[in-house]
Every structure is written in C-alpha cells, then in structure tokens.
Subunit: 185 residues, 6 copies
Amino acid sequence: MKTLFLEQDIKYDGTQLAPHWIYKNFKIQCDAIIAFKGECEVKLSEMVDIEDVLNNEPIYSKLMLHFISEQFNVGLVEGVLRQRLLICIIKEALEKRGITVQRNGDDLFVGRKKLTVSIATKSLTSILIHTGINIDAAGAPVVACGLSDLGINDIEAIAKEIMTCYSNEIDDIILATTKVNGLWK
Amino acid sequence: MKTLFLEQDIKYDGTQLAPHWIYKNFKIQCDAIIAFKGECEVKLSEMVDIEDVLNNEPIYSKLMLHFISEQFNVGLVEGVLRQRLLICIIKEALEKRGITVQRNGDDLFVGRKKLTVSIATKSLTSILIHTGINIDAAGAPVVACGLSDLGINDIEAIAKEIMTCYSNEIDDIILATTKVNGLWK
Amino acid sequence: MKTLFLEQDIKYDGTQLAPHWIYKNFKIQCDAIIAFKGECEVKLSEMVDIEDVLNNEPIYSKLMLHFISEQFNVGLVEGVLRQRLLICIIKEALEKRGITVQRNGDDLFVGRKKLTVSIATKSLTSILIHTGINIDAAGAPVVACGLSDLGINDIEAIAKEIMTCYSNEIDDIILATTKVNGLWK
Amino acid sequence: MKTLFLEQDIKYDGTQLAPHWIYKNFKIQCDAIIAFKGECEVKLSEMVDIEDVLNNEPIYSKLMLHFISEQFNVGLVEGVLRQRLLICIIKEALEKRGITVQRNGDDLFVGRKKLTVSIATKSLTSILIHTGINIDAAGAPVVACGLSDLGINDIEAIAKEIMTCYSNEIDDIILATTKVNGLWK
Amino acid sequence: MKTLFLEQDIKYDGTQLAPHWIYKNFKIQCDAIIAFKGECEVKLSEMVDIEDVLNNEPIYSKLMLHFISEQFNVGLVEGVLRQRLLICIIKEALEKRGITVQRNGDDLFVGRKKLTVSIATKSLTSILIHTGINIDAAGAPVVACGLSDLGINDIEAIAKEIMTCYSNEIDDIILATTKVNGLWK
Amino acid sequence: MKTLFLEQDIKYDGTQLAPHWIYKNFKIQCDAIIAFKGECEVKLSEMVDIEDVLNNEPIYSKLMLHFISEQFNVGLVEGVLRQRLLICIIKEALEKRGITVQRNGDDLFVGRKKLTVSIATKSLTSILIHTGINIDAAGAPVVACGLSDLGINDIEAIAKEIMTCYSNEIDDIILATTKVNGLWK
C-alpha cells in the first residue's frame, strides 16, 4: 500500500470518497492511503452513511486531518474490518503521545468528546474508507474535541506515522496468512 | 457469536485449535468464542505457526487465560483481521483497568514484557483463532509478564468482558455493511 | 433475518426493488424480508428482468401479496438459490392449505394458471428478491389465478407464515454449514 | 451437470461421499449427480454430520435409492442451498406420483414417517451431497417409510427424473444470473 | 461459452462494452464472445481505462476486428487473467499463419508496431473484455500495423478460430479444476 | 512474488508440490516461484492429477528444469489461469531464442514432441503449480524433446528470465484491476 501526505489543504465534502479519486488526482495506481488537512462539511445529499441521513445528521468540523484509503479486490465485510484496524492504529498513535482515547466501533473519544468520524463502503472494484480526525472541532454538531485541544500540533508527523503503521500492518496481515498450517482435524 | 467461560481449567497443548472442538466438547454449534484458564505447552509438532517451528520456538506458560474462537464461512485474510480485532479489544479491556499496553501486530506487551501469544488459521469450513494471555508467565521462553503481575485477579470477569465486546463488535461490523450506499463514481 | 408485514397497501411498480429500500422506509437495518399487499404494475423501463424487456412483457396484476427481501454480502448465484427456496416455501404454505401447486423454476402454477412473478438481482452490497403472489389476478397479461380464487383470504396470516419459515430456514442453512466434517479423501 | 443411474447396487457406508469418487469410479469428470440402489449403513466413525455423532445416531436402512452429487468451485453455504433444492425436487417428483410429502429442512416425511437422510459438506475443491430415499426402511432407527410402502416401484424412472430436473434447474439458476440488470439505487 | 461472428460491421465507440450488450442485441444469454469488424473510435469520455484518460490517449483505428466477451459471476482479477489468455490465443492464431508476434501484457506487437488494444473491466454481475486487432491501422495515434499489412485477409476465419480456441480453453480450465487431488501436507 | 533459482539439483518426485514447501526449505514466506534442475519421477501414488492416475501414466524425465510456485489466498479456477499464463510465458521465452513452440492447454510441444509437464492444485491456504521443462527427455514415457535438443544450454538464464517475466506479469495483472472504471450500464 502506498502512502502520501498532501501539503495543500482540501475541503472534504464527501465527493473525495470516490473510486479512483486518489489515482485520478495523485497518480497513485494501487492500494493507497493518503492524508490531508481541511474543513469538513458533508451534506446529507453526499452522505454514504444512510444511518446519518435517516437521523438527519450532517457532518461538520472546522479543520480535520483526513485519511482516504482505497483498497482493491476486497469485499465489504473485510473492508469494514480494515477500517476498524485503521481506527485502532490512530488510537495507538495518540497513546504514544500520552493521550488516553476510548474506541467505540469506528469512533474515537477523548473522555466524552468525539474526536473522529469514519465510514467504509464499496465501489465496483474496491472498498473505500474515509476517516477524519478533528484538529479544530469548532462547529461540530456533537460534543467534540480536536488534536489542537490535545496539544498535538505536528499534524504531518502523526499523519505519516499512522499511514506507515497502517500500511505495514496490512502487509503483515497478508504475510500472516502465508505461514500457518491449515487444520485437518 | 456465542460466548462461554469454562469453569474448569484445561491445559492448552495445541490440540484444542481444531475444527468443531468447541461444538464437540461444549455443544455450541455456530460462530463462538470460549475462554478457559490453564497451563500452556505447545510442542513444535503441534504448532500451526510454521515461523515458530522454523525458529525452534515452542510455547510455554505456567498459567494462561485462553480464548478459542471458531468462525465459519470466512477466508483467512478476513480471519487474521478478526484476530487483530480481538487483540485490540483485549488491549482495551486492560486499559480500562489502568494498564498501559503496546500492541505489535498480534502480540501485546507491557513495557518490554510479552503478555500474549496468538495465531489464526483455517480449516475446510472455518477460521480458528487462539489467543493466550499470561496469568503467571513462569517458564515462558521469552521475557514475559502475566495478569497477576499487573494486579488483575478477576480472570473470569475480564474474560467475559472481552468475549462480550468481541461478539458485539463482530455483529456491529456486519451491521455496518448494511447501511452504506455503494459508490458509483 | 428480520420479517415485517406492512398494514398499508403499496402499489408495486419496480422502484421498491432497490438497495436499502427496506432500511430507508422501515428502519430495518439487516437482512430482511417484508410483505405487503398492493396493485402490481411494472413498466418495461423499470424492469430488472431483461428477458421480459426483450419479449416486451410488462407485468400487471390488480392485487398481489408482495415480498421484498434484501440480503447483504451474498453473490448472485447464491441469491438466485435463496429466491428458489422462497418459492418452494410459498408452495409449501399453499400445500398446508390444501392447494396443489406446480413449481417451474421461480414460477408457481395452479393447474395451468400462473400464480406468481419473481426476480432476484444484485446491488453493490446485497442481493434483492421480489416475489408477488396474485390475490386478484385481474388484468394479468397471461392466464393467471389468485389466492382469492383458491379460497385463501387471510393474506396476513399466510404472509407471516411464509416469512417466518423463510427466515428460519436461512438460519438453519447457515447452521448446517457449522456441523459437518470436511472431507480430505 | 452430468447424470448417471448405476445398474448395479452399491452398499452405502459413507466412504462414497468423497472427493472425486464419481470421477475415479465412473469417469465422469465434471459437476455430476449419480444414483444407485443399495443398503445404507453409516457407522459413527464414517459420519460427516457431527450432530448425529454427538447424538449417537448411526444411520441404517435395508434398501435406499442413493444420490451422490459433487459440484466444484462452490462454497459450503451455496452447497447447502443446492442440497435443499435437491430435496425440494425429490418432493416434487413424489407429488407428481400423488404422494403428499412434508419437508423439514433437508428431511422429507410422509405423515410422521421419515423418508430420507441427507448431508452436504465440503472438500478442498468441491461440495458433496448425499441424499438417500428409503425404498425398504426395515431396520431404520426412527419411524420411517419407503418408496415401496408408497407404491413406487420404478426406482430407475424416478431417479432419472429427479436427476434430470436437478441438473436442468442448476443450469437454469446460473442462466438466471445472466439476464438481470444490477441495481444502482 | 457461446461464440458469434457478426456479418455486419459495427463502429466501436466504447458503448458496446456494456453489461448485457451481447444479450440485448444478439439474444445470447450466457457467457459469450462475439466478433465483428468496424472502425474504432473511443473518445476520452467513453474510456474505461483511466490510465489512457490521464495520459490523454484516445483510441482510433480505421478498421479493426473487434472481440467483446461477457462472462458472469467472475471477479476482476480473474477477469484480467481471462483477458490475458485471449491475447495469448490471438498471438497463437497469428503464429499459425506464420506471423511472429510479441506480447507485452495485454498488447500485441509485430516488430515495434502495435497490433491491438484491449481492456477488461467489471459490471455488477459480470466481467467484460474488449480486444481490437487492427485490420487497417490508418489514423492510429501510435506506430501500428494491421492484419492487412500482415497478409491476413480472411478476417472471418481467424475470428472464428480465435473464438473457438478461447471458448474451448475456458471450458478446459474449468475442467482442470475437477481432476486434481487437493494437498493436505 | 519472490523468485529464486536453486544452485543445487533436486529430484522431483511430487512431494515438493506441498503447501509451504518453499517457505520451510528456503525461508521465502510469501507468494513465490522457484526453479531448480533435477530428475523427474512421479509415481502414481504421489500424483495430484487423477486423470494421469486413471490412465496409469506415471511421469519420468532424466533431467528437467522445474518450477514450483505457491500463491496464497487464490481460488483454484484462478490458480489454473495463473498456471496457463506461466506456460505462455515459457513459450515466449523459447520464442525469443528462436524456437517455435505449440501450446495445447498446459502442455508445450516442439513439433510433435512434448516438452513440458504441468499441474495446478489447491491447499487449504494457497494454490500450487508445478511445471517441468525437459532438459534431457531420456526415459520419458511419450515422444518428447528437451532444451538440450533445442540448443538451449544456459538453463539458469532462461529460468530466471521466465520467473522474472511471470512475477512481473502477475503484478501487472493486479495493477490492471486498479485502473478501470466499472460499468453501470
């Protein structure tokens, strides 16, 4: 899996969660995870999560660290498992910086404050994951906090660390399938 | 997924990681995770992990909390992802008890001391996972620690909590696949 | 699998056979089968069955008992098999009421009169099945009969019985995969 | 799928439910269903159905019509669905001869008397199905009846009819996957 | 797999690479490969190959022999493998006519001149392949040659031979999966 | 995919076609293809190809260039396609050296003389391929020729070239699945 941190900010409005968006925009043609900073505003009409649409819960955050990952030839159950692993790795990167974080499925919380949003879905040829971590949670529709509140200011460093860990662990998981005897009885 | 904590101890020697072992012994006929306490001694001839065999690394621990899970109609890549999720949930159960734990793939460490062993593999109809958490790591072939060292003595309580969280999260992951719009473009 | 009988009638025009239609309209977020009564008029432009389009065979029936089922993470061959099972279960529910029914693939006949229409197809995340049983076959483009002609007037009762049997049998099929030794030689 | 009725009787003891048994013995190298008559005695040590083993329920019948089917490149859930379809087709063949039959999963009953046994399982490259219909149920461990009791004596004719219907319907199911528009929204 | 050579020319503009195009236009309802002659002009807006779009490389050839294949219930990795096999079979048909051809992935060259274009992609229920062999490469945007340059004028004969070989080999590949012992150890 | 040419000769007797044989013997833990020279003698009892067993056709050749490939998390139909691709690549390596070769499925011939043997099969976690090219076909049970007869003496060079081309093309095939728009209509 290739990784890329984008220098320029991009406002995330949901249209970035699209098949081949990474390839078309950044010429990375394979399984990839990229990160960038930007405002986050996803209107109901752009929402992939039907639960949020039914609950009339649009997403907003003044500034987020966004991750987009596209992984090909994977089913959706496996895609959601790969999303959960990304969330666990983000949690671990925060723990290394002394932050205590609680995970609830694909959400991370610091105390009762929500730190992240995330979704995983499927295209015809791939699964796609978006995870956003609040940097400045101003305007969020729920009680939230951001990396700035937690004293984490080197966004690029933590983004790259998360992407490297994630890429390495996906490789390691594939490798783990190649070293075990199957069980007959 | 059904869960069961066994009152009686069982020495884990590797033969318990077998298709339908849970069903044949405890009459649970579906996806399941069970837990029990017992010595752990896996000889090279019973090892599923070929890497350990090649490195001549048998497993021993005087007393462990063991988890065995069998999940049907799942491929091995997804099986390893489901194993990694179990490891993350064990880590979180320890964190709730104030223990700081580091994860490295499917291993948990407290400081530099190894707390767990784990493997995931495949039978013709299922994937199978074993994870053992040291209670008393005496005799372990590596620098290790156990739940006793960490002041965790209510083994049954933490075992049940881990199994409940794991079962709930697997259900939640399946549910997450049913609420998202697929992506056309 | 969850089941639901809708009190209100809905005219079936083909747009109900859509991913997440059940979830969006009735808040059932998982594998499900629902039933309702209503006129049936599917124009060629809404038809999923290309064979019917090529043969210029729109569907009409004055009043039908409709079943819609959405089942996630299933391929289309398996989806058609699950459709055929639903047809067999409908046939059996009629037999319990003393009606002799002939099955031909996914069609049911009483004598030479056609009783049902059915289709199974695929979305990005699920398979979807529609089966309609004539209640009053007036206006049908082929020689047809309906439940009223057969003296079956408690539509809700038979609908619920069919859905319960179907839901139970799908569960039973999954369970059947968990109790068999694989074959080595 | 190829079909074959064997003239010679074979005692079914469970060893016939093996990968490539059809190919090795009858040179049919593809998806196939074959039928033969013979005593049926499956000891616990040869049983594929662990539920029967746990319940200590060996199988016996003095004379049965046996079907063995091997179908390649199919998963076990789909294999059980294909088994259920075979059971429905056997039921329909009996109905054409005026017999009223009740189905309960993969079992057929005439009144309260059990008519059939069946199992579906998996090898590394295929799924395998055995279904036996009592001809003379003498010695059966449960209340049972046979085709002789039902006045059906032309065993070869009904066997061939069942195999032809089954083979045709499996072909028709594959064909049904090729004629439907997928659903985008 | 069914095969068909169309007598009439069709200009290939990319819209022919669509699910059920063969079925809707030629009533062949199953895995199929068809061939026809015609101009080839694929604009960027109709291109399936994002690489070509990014590189701003539309496709043009004055006259091509086109193959379209649709194969159902197949994943995309397997679909690309099936495409590569088609390319190898085209190469072999040319070799039988004394032409030396070099293959590079899914492209064929005679010397340094490009002879073919090809793409494989996926719909909801199938994989689709287009391969075009230049007959008269006039207007091609790269250095190219055509069958006319190579002295091959009986286009229908070579098209039918290629389709027959391809259809037979796909059947043979499925058959090859039914004759091998699985490996336990 | 990793590649390795072994300096030492190994007699191929069929036991080398085993899951993890490459990993256990050469410490390559991932998809791999290795090559070595050696006598080839596969007795019927070690044969994976049931067709050869039924036809009583053991394999012998005095000296062969052997390829063994193990590829994980792949089904058998795809495994046979990957085998056919290897055969095509071997054919192309010979063509670069001026040899005219005919392919018939997974067999290569020079004129009427058989040059190769090959099989693809499945373990619980992988597919495995063996392909042997005669170097000195003495003792072969059919009319055969070898690389020596064709003037090819630098076995290591051609082996490495074949493995590199094969490894690159498998990578390229995966890459080809990541660059195409799926087809909606």
